[in-house]
């Protein structure tokens, strides 16, 4: 579904990615793990076109997207839950969800306000509140809900559980498991190996701007000690 092929990218002057490659298949959950500053977020920025790749190819559903502009990439069916949540603080919860909602591909099981509120009942309670008054966890739920309302075929989460209380994290993971069971492709950047092992099919360990190791959850579980040392957990 998504194929990143040998891309290089720079961010803030220096080169960050040196031939980064990865695949996400249909209905697959894939993770990017690694230390800070190794290029995980830069990879995502390159996929979304926010910091376009300097060389290499990115294809989504067989279509080259590396030269498209961010809004065009999103319109192709990639939904981003950005790092640091970044909801629209001036809009109400419901406005956050409705403002950017879209169904450009004609989804089979279309996302609606009711479905998002089903997934996150806490958002329903706060629907008229402005986004800025939500707790961190609620903002994260809102950011996920907002991405889902664009009916993406691939959902990308950048550090979605960063800085959240353990209980709220568990809510988010439960939500992602449900989305997986519904057949959504997901690319996750996170550092919580326990949760990732239970959720994801495959993993990429990113080191110095390229893939240092990749494998399935079973393979990761076997080498877990090594990998943990590698990514510094």
């Amino acid at each position: 579904m998504l194929r990143v092929d040998n891309i290089t990218s720079s961010y803030g002057g220096g080169l960050i990615l040196f031939g980064m490659s990865l695949d996400v298949g249909a209905r697959e959950v894939v993770t990017l793990i690694g230390r800070n500053g190794m290029g995980k977020s830069t990879t995502i920025r390159a996929i979304m076109g926010l910091t376009p790749a300097r060389s290499g190819a990115i294809t989504f559903d067989g279509k080259r997207i590396e030269a498209l502009r961010p809004h065009e990439i999103a319109q192709n069916g990639i939904g981003l839950v950005p790092e640091g949540r970044q909801i629209f603080v001036r809009l109400s919860v419901e406005e956050n969800l409705v403002a950017t909602s879209a169904d450009r591909q004609g989804a089979a099981n279309k996302w609606s306000l009711a479905r998002v509120y089903d997934l996150f009942p806490r958002l329903a309670e706060r629907r008229a509140q402005s986004g800025g008054t939500l707790s961190g966890g609620e903002q994260q739920m809102l950011a996920i809900g907002r991405a889902l309302m664009t009916n993406p075929r691939l959902l990308i989460l950048d550090e979605a559980t960063e800085g959240l209380a353990p209980l709220i994290r568990e809510d988010i993971w439960a939500c992602l498991r449900q989305l997986k069971s519904e057949g959504l492709s997901i690319l996750v950047v996170d550092r919580n190996l326990d949760a990732l092992l239970g959720l994801a099919d495959r993993h990429y360990v990113v080191e110095k701007g390229r893939v240092a190791w990749s494998g399935t959850s079973a393979e990761l579980a076997v080498r877990r000690d090594n990998i943990e040392r590698q990514i510094g957990i």
Partner: protein, 323 residues
Amino acid sequence: MKLTRTGVFTIVVALAFLAVPYAATLLGSNYVITLATRVAIYAIVAVSLDMLVGRSNLVSFGHAAYFGLGGYAVAISAFHLANDVPIFGWAGTNEALIAWPLAMFVAGFGALIIGALSLRTAGVYFIMITLAFAQMLFFLFVALKYYGGDDGLSLSTRNLFAGNRITDARTFYWICLAALAICLLLSWRILNSRFGMVLRGAAASERRMAALGFPVYRYRLAAFVIAGMMAGLAGALWANQNRFVSPDMLSWVRSGEFLVMVIMGGLSSLVGPVVGAAAFLLIESYLSGWTEHWQMVFGPFVLLVAVFAPRGLWGALRGKGDV
């Protein structure tokens, strides 16, 4: 429906506008109407500017350009008519229902060009480039000697409104007030539509909106043009009220005054810019009757508002309750 504090004050403001002609009769002075007409006209500009500055976080420092373009569109077509050389041979340009939409079109077209270029920048650069474009237009009209240059251009009469003369101050006031009401209604509808949500969302972060699949630039350009058209309508009304236009309408001082009105009244609210325009003009009118250097008193007042009412006069009136 529960009446909120905002609701109460909104009604008070509306009633104040409606009461003006009666107050003028009681006081036996038409000056009240003239002043209120000016308030209504400037309020239209302030409302349109808030759509950019308040809601979209686009600080346009050249909004007077569209105000001036609207005014000149009316004045120039009247000038040609008076000299028996109507533009393109059009005879109807003295009719408000033709001249005012024409003014809006001209201002909107100007906003389209200037916006298309300016919106590629952001922040301080956006402020400077909108200012620069407005100054270019200012000097263009200064240089156009055929249309009066520095001295401006007089209109021998106001436009006809649906064939009727509108020399009566009350009639003209009602027309301006109706125009303000329509602009407020329109801006309310726009800002609560999805288009408005995208604008307000993008005010916080353009990239965030782009990452969700929205071409922010096009939305902003559309808002810029709509705001320009509203300012153009106000310019047309202003030209009619004063039967005079001059490059002064486009000067950067005027753009600054518009910004002060919006910010002093209260950003990102529907009524705030109206209150700001009213406060600005009433204070100006009162103080300038007292001293020529009225800005010496007005300046500190604006400072006090900025310090003690950071959400503007309207924000202070409506209280902390609703944001």
